[in-house]
Amino acid sequence: MTLISAENLEVGYPVPGKGLFGRSRVLPIVRDASLSLDPGRTLGIVGESGCGKSTLGRGLLRLIEPTGGRVVWQGQDLANLSKDQLRKTRAGMQIIFQDPIAALDPRMTLLKIVSRPLATFEPGLSAAESRARALEALRLVGLPEDFASRYPHELSGGQAQRVGIARAIVGRPSLIVCDEPVSALDVSIQAQVVNLLMDLQERLGLALIFISHNLAVVRHISHEVMVMCLGRVVEHAPRDAFYAKPLHPYSRALMDAVPEPDPRREKGRVGTALPGELPSPLAPPPGCVFATRCPKVQPLCRTDRPALRDMGESRKVACHYPE
């Protein structure tokens, strides 16, 4: 059964209106995003800054109120839930963030940080039960028991991210949205945290939405991959098919731009960078969002936005002239 799905989701932020008394309006950042995710699976969402990947992640959890479309969680439309129902439902969907230390309250012990969500999600638990659950979560993320009495400033970035994960799993969720969870970490620590998320997925049957700009990390952890550009989904495909042959020229460009730890190959790539700047997400071009930089652009691309269309084999692409 599908765990979470989104249909034509639109998520935006309010911007001030024109003039002193102009009415504020909502500027959509993510438009027309659809996805569905089964339990225990990982969807990777990749794209450059301003593509809306984090905004989509927050919109899915209703941390930002979507302005259009709908999110269905275990068969229920999230928008129809009352605040109280939403709070209970939230136990099942959690989020971890890029800056792990900033995400932790500096005045609380790790035990308190990790057990805190239980006060909201399972208010009936006794203090001893909460404590046991928090210690269990800390153990699951590989932190020794004596960490329970420590404070966030005593942690390295990798340890802090483990605490963030412990806090996310303590309420026994079915889904964790991971928003650039390893981008601020050293390479060796990044690998530890990616492996931990994969282990936890296996043990706890978690579904993950893994938001990252790093295509190589996404390849390792994801079952399927979605590429976003300026607020639009431009490609969505199973992992292996995607990395073997991306269909959207933007996906191709992203992959070609990633420098690989392989000097022979990289020296041959010097001078192949895609020219041009990312257009502002506040004023995306009228046709295809990638038209201003696309090496294969045709006149049609500048005027007509390509719809995300089915290419068979669970692949979708929004391009008039896919690879």
Binding site: E48, S49, S156, G157, G158, Q159, D186, V187, S188, I189, Q190, A191, Q192, V194, N195, M198, D199, H213, N214, L215, A216, V217, R219, H220, Y243, A253, L254, M255, D256, A257, V258, P259, E260, P261, D262, P263, R264, R265, E266, K267, R269, V270, G271, T272, A273, L274, P275, E277, L278, R293
Partner: protein, 329 residues
């Protein structure tokens, strides 16, 4: 002394470069007796994780260490020790023969001054050019780093530039004096991947055309692979390994270099169930009597905790500091 064979006289020679920081309760050794040579026109990568001391090497060279920091050893630029220079002497090297670019170009540019004026200032001070001459040269340099519509852009302020363009402005500024050395501290880390590719291309092209030697400090092995001729791997302030780039990526000698490579996911590798990892956390070094990497090393010997392994020749133009490499195979 390094035994790296150099055909040309090195442009820059670090001899036991050490950087210490005084803290209220103790002293931290951020860079511990690092010796490295840079040949004219060469692109040297310095890689390492947090606390490896990689950026502090550049700050020491530029005289930019924090006020509680002190550099020791020697940093010979064309035979002259930068660390022993008087401020006035250093000013004739810094920003002229040796320039630096930083990770965050926004904080390196003056937000209140037009970009063109910031570039022209250096030319007027160091080259004695007149106002209009300097401005023309600044615009020409902005064109070289492919700022579109450079003449108009020169009249604008840094906040009106995108991140990628700001970094290109920094590169333009750094290369304006045709320095012999460009020091680059994580120059593309804050940029999107397609913009990073542009900036790396630009650095490669300018270094080649001007014969500028580059010291590139980065945590990203992919960036090293694209740009560098030679690589120095740093951990806990110590040089772990130094090697021509291709040889290092083909067959790292030091367990730390090997661990870093294993932990770096690729787009084209045969995927394993889990990424390779290095256990534990990176830690700033200089505290332990042994190898700084020993607490995380999975193949360490008892000796590694107590005695620092010396750097030794482990191949053509390759050095590594590991006791295991001394063992008969």
């Amino acid at each position: 002394m390094p035994s790296t064979q150099m055909t040309a006289e090195p442009l820059l020679s670090l001899r036991d470069l050490t950087v210490r920081f005084r803290l209220p309760d103790r002293e931290v050794v951020a860079v511990d007796r690092v010796s490295l040579d840079l040949a004219p026109g060469e692109v040297l990568g310095i890689v390492g994780e947090s606390g490896s001391g990689k950026s502090q090497i550049l700050f020491a060279l530029m005289g930019l260490l924090a006020s509680n920091g002190k550099a020791g050893g020697q940093a010979l630029f064309r035979g002259q020790d930068l660390l022993a220079m008087k401020p006035a002497e250093l000013d004739r090297v810094r920003g002229v023969q040796m320039s630096m670019i930083f990770q965050d170009p926004m904080t390196s540019l003056n937000p209140y001054q037009r970009v063109g004026d910031q570039l022209a200032e250096g030319l007027r001070v160091h080259r004695g050019l007149g106002r209009s001459e300097a401005r023309q040269a600044a615009v020409a340099m902005l064109e070289r780093v492919r700022i579109p519509d450079a003449a108009a852009r020169a009249m604008r302020y840094p906040h009106e530039f995108s991140g990628g363009m700001r970094q290109r402005v920094m590169i333009a500024m750094a290369l304006l004096m045709k320095p012999a050395i460009l020091l680059a501290d994580e120059p593309t880390t804050a940029l999107d991947v397609t913009i990073q590719a542009q900036v790396l291309d630009l650095m490669a092209e300018l270094a080649r055309e001007n014969g500028t030697a580059v010291v590139l400090v980065t945590h990203d092995l992919g960036v090293v692979a694209r740009l560098c001729d030679r690589v120095a791997v740093l951990y806990g302030g110590r040089l772990m390994e130094e090697s021509p780039a291709e040889a290092l990526f083909d067959a790292p000698k030091h367990p730390y270099s090997a661990g870093l490579l294993r932990a770096t996911p690729r787009l084209d590798d045969a995927m394993t169930a889990r990424l390779g990892t290095i256990p534990g956390q990176p830690r700033a070094g200089g505290m332990s009597p042994g190898c700084p990497f020993a607490p995380r090393c999975e193949v360490k010997l008892p000796l590694c905790d107590t005695t620092q392994p010396p750097l030794r020749e482990v191949g053509p133009a390759r050095r590594a500091a590991c006791h295991l490499l001394e063992q008969p195979a």
